[in-house]
Amino acid sequence: MPSRSNELHDTLVELLGDGACLSVQDLAHACRMQTAWVTERLATGVLQGELQHGQWRCSGASLVRARRLAQLETTFDADPELAALATDLIEEVADLRQQIAALHARLGLPE
């Protein structure tokens, strides 16, 4: 479930935490893909989710990853496993870039 919500200016603000708060339909809509596309990738483990009473539920991190996968697959007609590999590498690079940026900032080096 979302960890926090506030009503403000008619806008519901939700922080999507680690919990499985998103449905397959939410992911499909955010990625502009079919729900079958999402369930296939959940079933094969390319996307992470939890089965709750027979329904998949996903975290916000899964939505970010699903969008990357969808973009790679549609842009390059990529095989789902290849798109997953590229996504793994993109996430790894982002993590390393973040560490380098923190190190540079700490040492006072230019980015």
Partner: protein
């Protein structure tokens, strides 16, 4: 609005084959991929490339676009208005779902001719023809990034967001607008986490609900700290005597509070002091790690230089480069 030369965007000839268009698109998509490209305007260029490909890779859209351009309407830089019923006889207003394409960043030119505005006109037209309500379609979700301070993660905070979006008027015409939304950032937000603003995405069609706006959180880089999940690593300089002799020191946490911690004697490089559950707040809060490093006081005066000389005399056997063989 300005006429868009999609062939020029993709760098292909007007008689390019579908294969040539696909190759050009993939080459540019790789070049401007936002996760990889170092180009400053990569996201904007990627949106242009996606838009051009969305039209030229679809035979119906491409044919309609070519017909539009053949009338001399594509004079560069001039204000462009499509002639009435320019798209009669073409069928390209199908559902966009399943294409993985995010039209949120596409131009007004695309929106009016091929996007939501076009679909709305088609929907309204078919509804009138059939006497029905038309096809309801939820608005597209929009995605953006938001940069926050670590303090916001600890305490929460308010942000006034400027959102550029569009809505459809009663005639199905796209109206661009900029609006501001004040958002309460919940405390406990982490790097990479998503904030969902319900109903702040693209407008729905046929009375359907608007999409949502997803904000991906980025924490501003700061030389004093880094985060890993909910754990926070704070860089804490200590004086040489504090590092070696130990003792109490005061540290300001990212939440703005001051805590007193005891530095153990005998400094070890890489030593961390853990303050349990003082990291980013949550049901299971993260920890705050203090990473100690020695800060040398500058010897600005003769007395201070003498103090360093005395230190050297007190440690005649100290060999800081022994590990390097000297």
């Amino acid at each position: 609005m300005e006429f868009k030369d999609y062939y020029k965007t993709l760098g292909v000839a007007k008689d390019a084959s579908a294969g040539d268009i696909k190759k050009a698109y993939r080459r540019l998509a790789r070049k401007y991929h936002p996760d990889v490209s170092k180009e400053a305007d990569a996201s904007a260029r990627m949106a242009e490339v996606n838009e051009a490909n969305a039209v030229l890779s679809d035979p119906e859209k491409r044919a309609a676009y070519d017909a539009l351009g053949s009338g001399g309407a594509q004079a560069g830089g001039q204000d462009f208005r499509p002639p009435p019923h320019w798209d009669a006889g073409y069928e390209f207003s199908g559902a966009p779902e399943g294409q993985g394409m995010d039209e949120a960043q596409f131009s007004e030119f695309f929106e009016q001719l091929f996007g939501r505005a076009a679909r709305a006109r088609h929907t309204a037209g078919s509804a009138r023809g059939q006497g029905g309500a038309g096809t309801a379609q939820r608005g597209a979700d929009h995605h953006a990034r938001i940069e926050l301070d670590l303090r916001d993660a600890y305490l929460g905070g308010e942000r006034l967001l400027s959102l550029r979006g569009a809505r459809l008027d009663a005639q199905g015409h796209l109206v661009h607008e900029e609006r501001q939304v004040q958002v309460n950032i919940p405390k406990g937000v982490r790097e990479g986490q998503l904030i969902r603003l319900s109903g702040q995405g693209g407008p729905g069609l046929g009375g359907a609900a608007a999409g949502d706006l997803f904000l991906e959180v980025q924490l501003k880089p700061d030389p004093r700290w880094r985060t890993q999940d909910r754990d926070v690593y704070l860089s804490v300089p200590v004086a040489p005597w504090e590092a070696e002799l130990g003792g109490p020191i005061e540290v300001q946490t990212p939440a703005g509070t001051t805590v007193q911690v005891t530095v153990p004697p005998r400094f070890k490089p890489g030593r961390k002091l853990r303050l349990k559950e003082r990291g980013i707040p949550a049901a299971t809060p993260g920890d705050l790690y203090l990473e100690l490093h020695v800060a040398l006081p500058p010897a600005s005066t003769e007395a201070q230089q003498q103090a360093y000389r005395a230190l050297a005399q007190a440690f005649p056997g100290f060999a800081p480069r022994a590990a390097q063989g000297v």
